[in-house]
């Protein structure tokens, strides 16, 4: 499924406290979390972002805490995908598990400007910058990770495994 939207650009080491500050960790409702998304980095982000928009960041995106509230907040406020030069590993797993599209491309980060229009073709691993006409290739997923993404996240993946083990 293609994702198309405007780029919101952030720098290196965007930590989970910036994505969703600790004071909101008693909240589990994704809608409520979405209202505070990226609050630490840009107070108005949640009101500016439109459904399908794409967050583009530098190295080590999502570093810090293991809080799944971070990818949940991003997904719930409409972010269609996160492209980063690199991801912190727990954030990457969490995003894959909850079905938030994450792609690694250093080149896409370097060559994308704020508000450029991007088109992502996840099954091809292709990121197109429709504003500049440039095209980037995202790092491929390991087969097992691709399987979880294909299943729609870890919940359907585990459900399938539990069901097949009961047969």
């Amino acid at each position: 499924m293609e994702v198309r939207g405007r780029a919101w650009k952030f720098g290196d080491n965007i930590d989970t406290d910036l994505i969703i500050p600790g004071q909101y960790l008693t909240v589990q409702d994704p809608k409520e979390l979405g209202k505070h998304c990226m609050e630490g980095a840009d107070r108005d982000f949640a009101s500016k972002v439109k459904s399908g928009d794409i967050l583009v960041a530098g190295q080590n995106f999502g570093c810090g805490s293991s809080r799944e509230h971070a990818p949940l907040a991003l997904k719930s406020c409409g972010v269609g995908a996160v492209i980063a030069s690199s991801f912190a590993r727990i954030f990457f797993r969490n995003a894959v598990n909850i079905g938030l599209l994450v792609l690694e491309s250093e080149e896409a980060y370097r060559k994308t400007k704020p508000q450029d229009e991007l088109l992502i073709q996840p099954e091809l691993g292709v990121i197109k910058n429709l504003t500049t006409g440039e095209e980037f290739k995202a790092a491929p997923y390991p087969p097992l990770v691709a399987g979880i993404i294909q299943a729609g996240g870890l919940v359907p993946y585990v459900r399938m495994r539990l069901q097949s083990s009961e047969k």
Binding site: D17, L18, C63, S66, R67, N94, L162, Q163
Partner: protein
């Protein structure tokens, strides 16, 4: 149910098979838990963890996800630990609801290891309960799960959904990490603890310097470091992006475990017959001489000054002498990083017979009830109260801006915790400086960042 087969309480066997190059301790533990003779960095393996852990932040989501996966029972009710420590004692009604949910789950699943509010901070409590031993594989829904590497275990953090999947299946996938070896040479001076050594390392490699890697700590200064200091070091491996921090098990580790287990009436640790005596097992666990490190980074710490990480990254590390003009408003001594008995002893050594500045709120938070009781018996709590510090029940509380000790705009805090990100402890324009307990206590007295010899 093949994939959800309980992993019975046997001791994992570490095979002595050697093929081609040797393995690091991390690779050995992952191989053993994947049922393999050898694994290589970059490979993805499915492992059976010895222990899973969650808390009052990651747990409520994990419980919902667990149910939505169609799972009825956890794979093994002796291997799932729930501990309520982040917003406890309940900060507000929302926090109370999170705790209630976890209590109910623990009860309905018949979990053996449920620890309610005030018992202590997860990463202080689990080791002191004797639940982790060298060679174990632990998965926790908290990024600081890496702490247990101090015991020669492989321990890493995941999110709620991964934890839910592991509770259902008894299995989880992991990519075998490359290992970076950190050698600490020399005999550091008396003010240097685990915090200074790990800050030094993070300062050198940066907050993504060990991304996806295991950080293996060794050398003369680690051999002489106590277990509490090793917990501090492994705890902060995540701040360099690492998947795990680990120290190869030694006699000190074994003695510590024996004492803990004896105190709790747990008896001797015994390997199975094929493994031979436990002290031989831990020798086999150590990284092979011909193992393949991604890199080896060496430090001479004999002249090292206490280290402080300035805002807003744990890698912005400076020697304390460069920061003496920094006025402060609060000090926090505690957390999963530095809330153990050695940390409180260090703070009390500085605070004894002195007063904290009337302009510095000083919070001392023992990491667990056991640490609290020990501190009471040693008279440390008297020292803190007499100095004007506030002593709280064990909680993660202020470390992540959860509750207690929130900072106002423009305020600065010296904290023995692990993160100094923007807004971490309150207002987005407040600042956190990370240090060990000696510097934190000295700064509380001085009202500014201070070397322990200044007070």
């Amino acid at each position: 149910m093949n994939c959800a087969r309980p992993f019975l309480g046997r001791v994992t066997k570490f095979r002595g098979v050697r093929s081609q190059m040797g393995m690091t301790i991390t690779e050995k533990i992952l191989a053993a838990h994947a049922g393999r003779d050898k694994v290589c960095p970059g490979e993805i393996v499915e492992v059976r963890p010895d222990l899973l852990m969650t808390n009052d932040i990651s747990g409520p989501i994990a419980v919902d996800v667990f149910k939505s996966m169609g799972a009825a029972r956890v794979f093994d009710r002796e291997k799932v630990v729930i501990i309520l420590d982040h917003f406890t004692p309940n900060k507000d009604v929302k926090a109370a609801k999170s705790s209630s949910k976890m209590r109910e789950f623990a009860r309905s699943q018949g979990l053996v290891h449920f620890y309610d509010a005030g018992f202590g901070i997860e990463h202080v409590v689990l080791p002191e309960l004797g639940l982790i031993k060298p060679g174990d594989l632990v998965i926790g829904a908290d990024s600081h799960t890496v702490t247990y590497g101090a015991l020669g275990a492989f321990a890493t953090g995941v999110g709620s959904t991964d934890l839910a999947g592991a509770m259902a299946l008894g299995q989880i996938w992991l990519k075998v990490p490359e290992t970076i070896r950190f050698e600490f040479k020399g005999k550091p001076n008396r003010w240097i603890g685990g915090k200074d050594l790990i800050l030094l390392a993070i300062g050198r490699i940066g907050v993504s310097g060990a991304l996806y890697c295991a950080m293996e700590f060794g050398g003369e200064a680690i051999a002489s470091l106590g277990m509490d200091g090793r917990f501090t070091m492994c705890n902060m491996a995540i701040e360099a992006g690492a998947k795990a921090g680990i120290v190869e098990p030694d006699e000190k580790n074994l003695e510590w475990l024996k004492e803990i287990r004896a105190r709790r009436g747990m008896g001797e640790i015994s390997g199975n017959e094929a493994d031979g005596p436990w002290n031989e097992t831990i020798v086999r666990l150590r990284s092979d001489g011909d193992c393949n490190y991604k890199s080896i980074i060496t430090f001479d710490v004999s002249e090292l000054e206490p280290q402080v990480a300035v805002p807003h990254l744990p890698s912005n590390v400076r020697p304390v002498s460069e920061l003496k003009d920094v006025k402060i408003h609060q000090v926090v001594i505690g957390s999963c990083t530095n809330g153990r008995i050695s940390d409180l002893r260090a703070a009390a050594e500085i605070l004894k017979g002195k007063k904290v500045s009337k302009w510095v709120r000083t919070l001392v938070i023992p990491g667990s009830q056991a640490v609290y009781k020990q501190a009471l018996e040693e008279g440390l709590i008297d020292v803190f109260v007499d100095s004007g510090a506030i002593v709280s029940a064990p909680t993660c509380g202020p470390c992540f801006g959860g509750h207690m000790g929130a900072l106002d705009e423009g305020e600065r805090c010296v904290s023995t915790t692990n993160r100094n990100f923007v807004g971490r402890m309150g207002h987005e324009k407040s600042e956190v400086y990370l240090s060990g307990p000696y510097v934190a206590a000295a700064s509380a007295i001085a009202g500014r960042i201070a070397h322990p010899e200044e007070v």
